[in-house]
Amino acid sequence: MAEPSSAGRERFGVASEPTMRLSAPVLDLIGGLLFLATALWLWFGAASIEDTGQGLNGPAGFPRGVAILLGGSALMLAIQGAAALSGRRLERPVTVQRPMSVLAAIMLVILYPFLLHWLGYYAATGLWLLPFFWISGCRSPLLILGCSVGFLVFTKVLFETVLGTPLP
């Protein structure tokens, strides 16, 4: 699934990383099934909504309608994906350049609210920005430090001085 590509060359100071290539029909199939699961969640979740005795015009009517529409479309997408797979049609693959960096960025983003909870805004954001800039591909320590400190000063001035809104 992963292979070196031109995008993986050492360019613009960013470390080389193989590009991930994923089959478009497989992704359509997976996407269709995930949306179908969401539709089923909506449908079965509607059963637990308090019934006010209005039937279709009640609080569960609209979610059920949406579940049917989403489920139908998702099923079509999944079938399209499966048909493309079985027909072995040539489809342009979906590429993810620098996949490990993207995954690391997602992980860091998920970590942020926990850091915010433990350390407060300024310490958490300062600590979080340094590796985030690095993962994004920034390799100059001076630039990373300058941007991080500059952003914190900007938020301090804007929120606490101009807007009068304290940050956690």
Binding site: A7, V14, T52, N57, L77, Q97, S101, F132
Partner: protein, 494 residues
Amino acid sequence: MLTGFGVALSHMISWHVLAGLIVGILVGYLVGAIPGLTSSIGIALMVPFTFALSPVVSIVMLVTLYMATEYAGAIPAILMNTPGIPAAAVTALDGYPMRLRGEAGTALTMSILSAAFGSFVSTALLIVTSTSIASVALAFGPAEYFAIAVLGLSLVSSLSGSSMLKGFIGLFFGLGIGVIGTDPLDGVSRYVFTDGLLSGVTFLPALIGLFAMSSVFSMVEHAAEAPEALKSLPKISGQFGLMRPYLGTLTRSTLVGYLVSVIPGHGAVISAVVSYGLQKRLSKRPETFGHGNPEGLVAAETAANASVPGALAPMLSLGIPGSASTAVLIGALTLHGVQPGPLLFDKNPEIPFSIFIAMAVTMPFMVALGLGGARLWVRVTQVPKSVIAGLVAAMCMLGSYASQNDVFSIYITIFFGVIGYAMKKIHVEPAPIVLALVLGYLTESNFRRALLSSGGEYGVFVHPVPMLCLVAAVAVLVMPMIPRPGAKKALAVS
């Protein structure tokens, strides 16, 4: 109407409004000049910073940001063949060849003057039409509003990207997310599995996630791509005489831009393409289009900028978005306690009339900045993606938190950021999801109110106005499926 302008002026004569206007323009130029950042992303990132401001200052700032972004995308398009926003791709068709011929200064001057003309005249059209439409819409009931909301939802067809099916999936997914929280009529809880969702999925954090956070991951992915190198920076000047031979093109393109974008979902890109195609057909030298013909540049730039007031017309008068950016603007207004729609002109006349005044007043500032600052704005394109990604990510977190003063909203932003990025990979665009989040509540609540008032009779939707809107919704859905030979030819030139 004069009373409305009077009320708006009384709210606008303050340094806060002027500061908001200038900040909006500056941020708009910055966002427009950076390829990958669109007006919707710019507005979504800016909204949290407007909470401490009055609704008038906020909307002035956001609307001027929208206008400036739509213009500024032309600067890197002309100088580097890198459109800052999608509509500027049409400007680049003739703008970039002009730059290669050594006429970059002329091209930039023409683009800002065309934008100013298109935007100014189109604003005048907006003032006349939106007040008229709103006064008619005042007589509407729940059935009419339901049909209008469906008309709004139907613009999914033009926001879907490459696949209509995937556009519908995005729309239905958004509608599904929209039902989480408290039911609009009976107050019953639906799908609330954590206390943070009691009031539903908060709009702004979801929006920041879908548009801005997802683009951060894309920037991380493409960080290795170096920006196009700058060769030489031209000097441009206010040579207004340059535009004299193009008065006909300017007028025609303004009308095309406004009329096309009034139809929900037909924003700047389609306006520019249609206007470019029409101008090519009418030109005495159609073979030079795509090779640096100033007519093409003027037609595209005028129409793209005339589309901004056009997209605001359905938003102000009916409460339905004309484009992805106006969907975000509706969300911003709602967060300030202002509901766009026909009642807006009665309840909050200072809002629409402030927008009209701001759009007219913004123009001289935009022209001055465009003529004087192009050399600066184009340098923005040289900022590495790695730096922009980090700063935008931090802005997303901060903006999301500030919108609710609650860490839970950051979880919502992260969820939608990751989902938005994954969906982009399978070509499910974020715009239909936002459309559903904006219009889902309006659709459900008015549908149920209409049925309640009619005693469950579905005949309430067969009255003339709901029928007209529902038929128009079908037309809006079907129209993008009909091939436009002119548009294809126009783009084929590139």
